[in-house]
Amino acid sequence: MSLLQISEPGQAPDPHQRRIAVGIDLGTTHSLVAAVRHGVPECLPDLQGRVLLPSVVRYLDGQRRQIGYEARAHQAEDAAHTIVSAKRFMGRRLADLKSAAQLPYDFVDQPGMVAVRTRQGLKTAVEVSAEILATLRQRAEDSFDDELFGAVVTVPAYFDDAQRQATKDAAQLAGLEVLRLINEPTAAALAYGLDHGSEGLYAVYDLGGGTFDVSLLRLSKGVFEVVATGGDAALGGDDFDHLLAAWALQQSGRQAVSPQDKGALQMAARRTREALTDHAQATLHCPLDDGDLRVDVSREQLETLTRPLLDRTLTALRKVLRDAKVPRDEMLGVVMVGGATRMPAVRRAVAEFFGEQGTVRVLTDVNPDEVVALGAAIQANALAGNAKDGQMLLLDVIPLSLGIETMGGLVERIVERNTTIPVAKAQEFTTYQDGQTAMAIHVVQGERELVADCRSLARFELRGIPPMAAGVARIRVSFQVDADGLLSVSAVETGSGVQAHVVVKPSYGLGDDQVTQMLREGFAHAHGDMRLRALREAKVDADRLLLATRSALQADGELLSDDDRHAIDALMERLQTLAAGEDHDAINAAAEALAKGTEEFAAARMNRGIRQALAGRSIDDV
């Protein structure tokens, strides 16, 4: 539906139509789905009453797959075909994976993204994540016994454009309508902020299984403004486990070579680390090919061993505080998120860090595993138009600077990190040689001066520049980052009007055709009669669109000329007639025609609505 309805901000245009929207935390170790029911966000359990879904997918013979607990149970024995922590491979090349050698997978480097060779062929993190998301989607549809309107999916704040795109693609592959990608720490703050009704400046310290994020937010009258964000996209609880596993091998003079051994050891290390949260002493016990491994570990030993990792999180924290340029005594609290923040050493270090800055509360009262999904559910509910007053608003930032390559492999930054999104920025460049008719534009993301040290996002060319002397052409490169944090870039030679445009999208081997194919094959429509469902959806959408158009015409019909009005009436009549029939393709086509035909009207109403709202504001101010 693309016709606009002007209603009170945040209120559903049709109060009887409640849309089911969920929040999904797609985690490195666990994933969850949550929804707002009766005004309260809650995590949705599976049939056994468990809310966590281990982010594990096992590929068996044929087309069989195991997902979640079932897959995790076989992780050790079938490590090479059981993908854990796939999030760490999202939008990454093989060269990006520091611990690839320690992992039990047969990695295959591909353009755009690394894949793992399994019994069912090459699988990228996008496909693995889609399995997990589809499972959660099914869980949500089962609990509401209805279809989903859409989902808010969370990503680490420090995810770059490639990782965000990959996450969005995975959701699409799972048949989810993505209402918004939001940053995990921001989601956590939402869950806390609404609970506590707090105002002021908060930090979120989010140490997950595979990523570390830190964000600073200002809460003010329902507006959640991210002031600065930072972190380390390759640092998490898993790394603590890796260190512990390596140490145990070293202590015992043993080796873990086979994929099974590596998998089993990693799991044993996690169990041991978790045990050391409540106990001062634990034994790492793990069956290996050449006999059992048993090593005693004290909490103190673990803490000494992993102190460098903890220090890395504190360095990131310091950097964000500096970026934010806010007085430190303004800080009110720090929200702890992620299972790894249960480690006593982590809580102690964060408390000490802020202890130096004054009185800052360390908030741990919402379950750190659930808080991100709960926050995402709150945002999903608001975006679906279900929130009562619509006073909540998220203003997020881009985590990493965006720029383009200039002469000598240097980066010219165009959008600085921590700029509030959505944002559009443009910069002019010129040609280097006389008669130059094309310009290569290389889009990069990162904070370093050299292109080689930044992440390459896209390359495209502006061709057909009229030949001119060097330095005369004016090439305007525009960056636009939308509210999901996703980038599109365009370039235009302003004298001649020659244009080029690219939506930055990583190419990891999945074309749109393939995505459609995969959607058809399994993920999205596993249940129900597709044709009937499509017809029902088409009719509901058509009714909604007709209703909205009628009320829009009633309210603002005078914005239209007689001719435009007649054209819209004809489109409505046609849709009304078809909607009584059985042909869902024809209904959709007519609905699309009406939506298209009313687009300008919608834009005019929207602009008027906003102008009036803002004018009202100005008078209030006086």
């Binding site: 918004r180 500096r322 944002v423």
Partner: protein
């Protein structure tokens, strides 16, 4: 209120350099609360597109007004004295000597404390320049002199960035 109004009109602020930062922040949040695409999330593509344009425009104005240098440059330009830093590179002699002295001090600084001392010194100097800039724009109405002052402050800002980078590298 129109999307192509100037920044000050959009934010309902007087067109001058001196500015109440809290009022600016509050007004920004109010404006975004009206125009952000999330406010129209359930209302289709046309609404999203228009809301995005407004939201981008509001953020652009906010970024420009919030940063004293960008705000001053914007005022100079509106008053017929564009900054054009790349074409006006001449700086007073004392200013250049000051810059050189700072650069040398940074090269010699070996620990966090000495860099921090330099940071404080530069910040104090910058405050003085900003005060003078305010007087040029709001009291004397001398846009050309203000533009020269902005160019000088751009050097200081760049040096301040170098100081931040150094502090960061010392921490790691």
């Amino acid at each position: 209120m129109n999307i192509d109004d100037d920044d000050f009109t959009l934010f309902a602020l007087p067109e001058r350099f001196a500015l109440d930062a809290q009022q600016l922040d509050r007004r920004w949040r109010e404006l975004q609360a009206e125009v952000h695409p999330d406010r129209f999330a359930a209302q289709g593509a046309a609404a999203q597109r228009i809301a995005m344009q407004w939201s981008v425009r509001v953020n652009q104005a906010y970024q420009r007004l919030k940063d004293p240098l960008k705000r001053a440059a914007y005022l100079c330009e509106r008053r017929g004295a564009p900054i054009e830093a790349e074409r006006n590179t001449a700086m007073p002699r004392e200013f250049l000597l000051q810059q050189m002295a700072w650069r040398e001090a940074l090269d010699e600084a070996s620990d966090g404390a000495s860099v921090q001392a330099l940071v404080n010194q530069v910040a104090e100097h910058e405050q003085g320049l900003l005060q003078r800039l305010r007087a040029l724009l709001d009291e004397q109405g001398d846009a050309a002199a203000a533009a020269a002052q902005v160019r000088a402050l751009m050097f200081v800002a760049r040096f301040r960035n170098d100081l931040d980078d150094r502090l960061e590298s010392l921490e790691q």
